[in-house]
């Protein structure tokens, strides 16, 4: 303390050369160290920035909203702009896809590739909940990768299914059919169902023929063949599955088949025509068709694909 010097009423600390504030606690004194200039100027600049910011941008919270700011900037607006820009970027490709008939897309590999990618993106948002990320489906939800189609696997048929859905209530053009609940509706007895199941397992080459299957064959011809065909080959016009193949939507073991014949199934797929725009549906159709099981367009127009245009207009 004795080394301290006085200068203009300020006590200067000997060790640092800095003025003291004058506070003292048990010999410990406080230095009046000035703030570094760079810090001070940064601080002033920050205040200035904050003032400008408050005027230009939303900043002051109020009861129900916040001040809007002179620039009218909002984070929602930025998102909307981003989405609009994204949409504008895709506009040319989407217009080209819209102008090209779905069967003609394969003739333009670049456009088809764009449609497949666009369909993949839309699939991830809208379809994976039921059909799975790899489109492999699950019990009750068809696998879209395989070569077995309930209603048909060519491009226009897939598109028609997408637009109008399957068993979508309130849609006249939707794909509709209902298998009877053979036991619940009192058409067959439990024993008869077992015989039918035995025959179906013979049809699909899972079991060898036996007495039960022979009894079942008669019942099958009377009750099932009208939709599923005499040899279990299925009927796409009513979405009746092929029973002679290796693919089962609800399972091909005895218990699953018994359950299906007893209570019947009738899966529902929403009609996407009212939810997605026509280009997205077209891209989705091309994507699903590209998954490995897509079929060529049938030469003769089948009854199921009779009115796709009418369906699109709903």
């Amino acid at each position: 303390m004795t080394h301290d010097t006085k200068h203009d009423d300020k006590v200067i600390d000997h060790a640092t050369g800095t003025a003291k504030v004058g506070h003292e606690w048990d010999g410990i004194e406080e230095l009046d160290t000035p703030l570094p200039r760079w810090w001070l100027w940064t601080f002033y600049a920050s205040i200035l920035f904050a003032l400008v910011y408050v005027v230009l941008y939303p900043a002051i919270p109020m009861l129900h909203s916040a001040s809007t700011g002179m620039l009218g900037w909002t984070s929602r607006g930025v998102l909307a702009d981003d989405m609009a820009r994204e949409k504008a970027e895709h506009q040319a490709v989407r217009a080209a896809i819209a102008a090209t008939p779905i069967e003609a897309l394969a003739g333009n590999p670049a456009l088809q590739r764009a449609a497949i990618e666009g369909g993949h993106a839309a699939f991830k948002v809208n379809c994976v909940q039921c059909h799975g990320a790899g489109a492999a489906g699950a019990k009750g939800y068809p696998n879209l990768n395989d070569d077995d189609w309930l209603w048909g696997g060519d491009l226009t048929t897939i598109q028609q299914t997408l637009i109008n859905g399957i068993r979508q209530p309130g849609n006249d053009a939707t794909r509709s059919s209902q298998m009877p609940s053979f036991v619940r509706d009192g058409i067959l007895t439990g024993r008869q169902v077992q015989d039918v199941v035995s025959f179906v397992r013979v049809l699909s080459k899972q079991d060898p023929a036996n007495a039960a299957s022979a009894r079942g064959a008669v019942l099958f011809a009377g009750n099932c063949a009208v939709c599923h065909g005499a040899g279990g080959e299925g009927n796409r016009s009513v979405g009746a599955p092929k029973l002679s193949d290796k693919i089962w939507l609800y399972g091909g073991d005895r218990a699953a088949l018994t359950e299906t014949v007893t209570n019947a199934h009738g899966g529902v797929m929403p009609a996407w025509g009212g939810r997605l725009d026509p280009v997205t549906i077209k891209m989705l159709s091309v994507y699903v068709h590209s998954l490995g099981g897509g079929e060529a367009a049938p030469v003769a127009v089948p009854a199921t694909a009779a009115a796709p245009a009418a369906g699109a207009a709903q």
Binding site: A135, K246, S290, G292, A296
Partner: protein, 491 residues
């Protein structure tokens, strides 16, 4: 205040004393000229060298094509997955620096470092515009008259011009130089080209024109790292105090009672130093070992008829030998020591390995990614299908057609997502354009009889029958049959 108090520690901040190095000529200065000319010529000239690679690749000898992810260096073309070549070259550059530093000390700092080269260039500009050291000192101390201001503004515009040419040259490594130059002047170049030029112009102007030796002394970590790599066998610029001290001018030497050393205290070594240090204070972080003081001292020694080399490159061991009166060791003995040989062996080994890999690398490759969601698809007839994504990289400057086939997968039929499943066959041809990658979604269908989990290989045979056939081991997934389970029990 404490700044005046000799008992107090020095303040942490030292105000810069401007350095005005004097012009000097001598063998080391000429060597420095040569290195500078070489460095600048390489930097400015390289992007303008043309190299014919045919119609499908750029015609610039050295090009980092970030947009297309290609790196061209004369006859070498590097794809992103071959980036280890660049990594190897960077490792070689690092070990090369270790080697050079262990052998000849801070030679990098003294001659080849961009900061040194451009500081040197700017100091020549100073001398050209303001005159030599004394004129510069006078002008610096002079009050700000319009004449001084005009002179300064002129000098700074020359600084800026050099900085712009320096910053602007950088962008030509990343795009076709003649095209980019035209685009640059017509305002149609990419914004990043202008931004890079702007930033590098500013850094060159600031670091070369004003920061200069402060970069070496305060900002650069390399002197600290190098200090750790120097040893008693490394060459450093050394003032031979055992010969020079006690120093004194010729006049003082006449009146001295005991004979003085060789140093005539002419301070020429300080005057020419580009970092403004006094080498006679011993080795120090500010010394970039450019050896200009060696030239200055040799000149002074010659003028008073004394032997050259009062300041000279010298190792610590040789310094001790000389103090004891023994002769310095021959250079060969200094250089051929285990540490240098080890560095050289590692450096050369990596270089040879890179060259070998460069010669042995394939310009046609195949990668296979198995689809895992779903792993396999059961087809209605009992057959099982797997999907694969193939990347066929044709790194040559010609289109090639490859025949994709499944090796060791009985009865497999292949098709791609561009084909109808009905067109599946045992082998399919894929055309890959020159210098590009073809991505193929491949489906392999295996009939029920042989549909079980098994390993197999996909091959891509070039139809031109030249070069090797890329082959990839992969797996075919299928539902396990009872037969497979039975087999496993016996395994």
């Amino acid at each position: 205040m404490n700044a005046l108090d000799p008992n107090m520690p020095a303040p942490l901040y030292a105000k810069r004393t401007a350095v005005f190095p004097k012009k000097i000529d001598g063998p080391f200065r000429r060597f420095k000229w040569l290195v500078m000319a070489l460095c600048l010529a390489v930097y400015w000239g390289t992007p303008w060298i043309r190299w014919d690679r045919g119609p499908n690749a750029p015609g610039q000898a050295v090009l980092v094509d970030l947009a297309h992810r290609r790196f061209y260096m004369f006859a070498i073309e590097i794809w992103p997955q071959e980036f280890y070549f660049v990594a190897g070259m960077l490792i070689m550059a690092g070990i090369g620096l270790f080697l050079v530093t262990s052998a000849v000390g801070r030679a990098w700092c003294g001659y080849a470092c961009p900061q040194t080269v451009w500081t040197d260039l700017y100091q020549h500009v100073d001398r050209l515009i303001d005159g030599d050291r004394n004129a510069q000192l006078r002008l610096n101390a002079a009050p700000w008259t319009p004449a001084k201001l005009a002179r300064r503004l002129f000098k700074w515009s020359v600084y800026l011009g050099i900085a712009f040419v320096t910053g602007g040259a950088w962008i030509f490594y990343f795009a076709d130089a003649p095209t980019l130059q035209r685009a640059f002047w017509t305002g149609t170049a990419a914004p990043v080209a202008y931004a890079s030029t702007g930033i590098l112009t500013f850094t060159t102007f600031w670091l070369g024109g004003f920061m200069r030796e402060q970069v070496c002394i305060y900002m650069c970590p390399w002197p600290r790292i190098q200090t750790a790599m120097l040893d008693e066998n490394s060459l450093t610029v050394t003032y031979k105090h055992w010969r020079g001290e006690p120093r004194g001018s010729l006049k003082e030497a006449k009146g001295a009672e005991t004979p003085l050393g060789d140093c005539i205290d002419c301070k020429q070594c300080v005057a020419v130093c580009p970092t403004g240090i006094d080498i006679r204070e011993g080795p120090q972080i500010g010394c970039i070992t450019c050896a200009l003081c060696v030239d200055a001292c040799d000149k002074a020694m010659a003028s008073v008829g004394r032997a050259r080399g009062l300041i000279d490159y010298c190792t610590l061991i040789d310094a001790e030998r000389e103090i004891k009166g023994e002769p310095a060791r021959p250079v060969r003995k200094v250089l051929l020591r285990p540490r240098l040989i080890a560095y050289f062996a590692v450096w050369g080994g990596i270089g040879l390995a890179l060259l070998f890999m460069l010669g042995a690398r394939e310009r046609l490759t195949l990668s296979v990614a198995r689809e895992r969601n779903p792993e396999f698809v059961q087809l209605s007839g009992g057959a099982v299908r797997n999907a694969f994504t193939l990347a066929l990289r044709n790194m040559e400057d010609r289109p090639r057609t490859l025949r994709i086939a499944a090796e060791g997968l009985q009865g497999a039929l292949l098709y791609t997502d561009d084909m109808a499943p009905g067109a599946a066959r045992a082998a399919i041809d894929v055309a890959v354009p020159a210098d590009s990658t073809a991505k193929v979604r491949l489906y392999a269908v295996v009939p029920a009889a042989s549909a079980r989990p098994q390993d197999f290989a996909l091959t891509a045979t070039p139809l031109d029958k030249e070069g090797h056939t890329p082959r990839r081991e992969t797996h075919f997934a299928a539902p396990k049959t009872e037969h497979d389970d039975h087999e496993e029990e016996h395994d």
